[in-house]
């Protein structure tokens, strides 16, 4: 599973790099990030559909772009365990973080609105910590990762439905600028 994910991750990385190189101006020559073997001279293709969006490799925007939604993992009701889908996403996050070892990240833990405020703050912290521990188990240094809980105060889906609550029970990894 881990291997297949790395392959997918690699594909996403190439796609993102391809897109990032499609600006009107030629890409700037950038010093490679430590640990990065990726060349910045990627051929420009598909100029009709690509957005003008120059993402710097190893930047927070690069992380977000490459994760393609997998910067966020989800949890079952009142649970904080990492299920296989979340584990796969965290492996993708870990691969990026291991590639850019100077980057730090904050993991934001959230709960759905159907709990009390205090408890949900603690539950969000617990979820963020579970995600952090998983990343650490994959080799990311613990001192690069901080956690913060927003409890139920920052829903991503504002509806009051089971579907929205499932989206809001989450931990989001944000690479620090």
């Amino acid at each position: 599973m881990a291997q297949s994910h790395v392959i997918r991750f690699g594909g996403a990385a190439m796609l993102a790099l391809a897109l990032s190189a499609c600006g009107a101006k030629p890409p700037k020559e950038l010093p490679p990030e430590p640990g990065s073997n990726v060349s910045t001279t990627v051929s420009t293709t598909d100029t009709q559909t690509a957005p003008v969006n120059q993402t710097v490799a190893g930047s927070p925007a690069d992380f977000t772009a490459q994760m393609m939604g997998r910067d966020t993992i989800h949890f079952a009701l009142d649970k904080y365990n990492i299920d296989p889908v979340a584990g796969s996403a965290l492996q993708g996050q870990a691969a990026w973080l291991l590639k850019y070892p100077l980057r730090h990240a904050t993991i934001e833990g959230h709960a759905d609105e159907r709990g009390t405020r205090d408890y949900n703050l603690a539950l969000g912290e617990r979820r963020a910590t579970a995600a952090k521990n998983f990343l650490v188990s994959l080799g990311v240094a613990a001192d690069r990762l901080t956690t913060v809980s927003y409890g139920k105060e920052r829903p991503v889906d504002t509806a009051s439905t089971e579907e929205a609550w499932a989206k809001n029970r989450r931990a989001v990894t944000v690479v620090v600028e």
């Binding site: 709990g115 009390t116 405020r117 205090d118 408890y119 105060e153 920052r154 509806a159």
Partner: protein, 463 residues
Amino acid sequence: MMKPLAQCCLFALAVLLATPAAAQTIAPAPVVPPAATPTPNEGLSVTVSDDSAWASLGVHIPAFATNQDVPTSATGGTTARLGRGIAEVITGDLKNNGLFKPVGPNALPAIGFAEVGAPKFADWSARGAEMLVQGGVAANGNGNLTITCALFDVSLQQKLVSASWDVAPAEWRRAAHKCADKVYARLSGESPFFDSRIAYIAETGPKNHRMKRLAIMDSDGANHRFITTGQAMALTPRFSPDYKKIVYLSYLNGMPRIYVYDVDSATQRLVAETKSPTFAPRWSPDGKWILYSMAQAGNTNIYRVSAAGGTSQQLTDTPGINIGGSYSPDGKKIVFESDRSGSQQVYVMNADGSDQHRISFFGGRAATPEWSPRGDLIAFTHIGGNLRVAVMGTDGSGMRYLTNSWQDEAPTWAPNGRIIQFFRTEANSGKSTIWQVDLTGRNERRLPTPVDGSDPAWGPVRD
């Protein structure tokens, strides 16, 4: 027990009220202009008439009279206008707890200053009044006001209780609340609670990016004041018993931590210097201790620290989430919430952390327990699908719901242990409002706030 209060106490009260400097710093001029201040009468009021014999007691409250209508520095205006305002505040207080049927000054004839101590009982009896609250407002040479208040039994033609206060003009509402407290205590046999303040979280903005600010107000919503700007999210405030400090959670610098905010100096300090997030602060009844919860490695435990600072003492130590906590009125026990059994339930322990045992065994989850200041009950949030406010005995027996809505949570007690405040959230919109309910669950009303509100916390009756 039902006798009028001793005059010596009233004198002491008057002396305390005559030195308003400290109190003024707590209650500065209202940010919200008087005209925009929501009156308590606007709240939803569900009054029952079959509760008990005195629930339908007709209390008439004409405008307080003045010996001379002169300007004052109070926001309420001249002494005559203050006299009407005082009667309106008393009417609102008595109306809003659902126990009385007060008739306010707008529906009653004015009285003369000489009548204050000698009511025209025959006239009031003819109007159907059973109880009569009369009073006067006189401007003193030193700029203060002397506000007098008396409760009469119309059929007995007898004075039941009276008091007077020498107050700075800015404090006139406090005198009205003190008068309402006298009437309430004398007629119900319960302890007073109107002259108290409330800390809460003022909420504005969209559901996914709400601005949450610490705010304070009088028990009837007057003298409203925002404490924080909203740049850092604020949650779960609690007034110290002396009203000089507020503990609350702030996301200052992006890190959720508990701060002790000093009202007079407008400064704050961390309750504990830690790299870990701290939540759910609570005061001990004597104001000497602060309880808080801290998350470390995913587990949350309850700690206590001296209000003066110093080293924290860990009170719980189990895997999972132990959070909240509320002292019994004698300070010897703490009721708190823990999911050590698998879901949120209510536990009690001694104040030093010993003898932790679960008391909630009625199905569903039980959260945010708060010990009544009378010591007899614990209010909490019951989660069984919807979130509802409920009470139970201190051993977990006799659980009963007080509210039935989609999401009611975080009950806190009025100083007299007869009224509970909580906040209600609407599905989808996320709009939150502050409500009060009495222990019968039948008298429920919304407390008007300038914007949405949550996490209401009552302070004690003021000296």
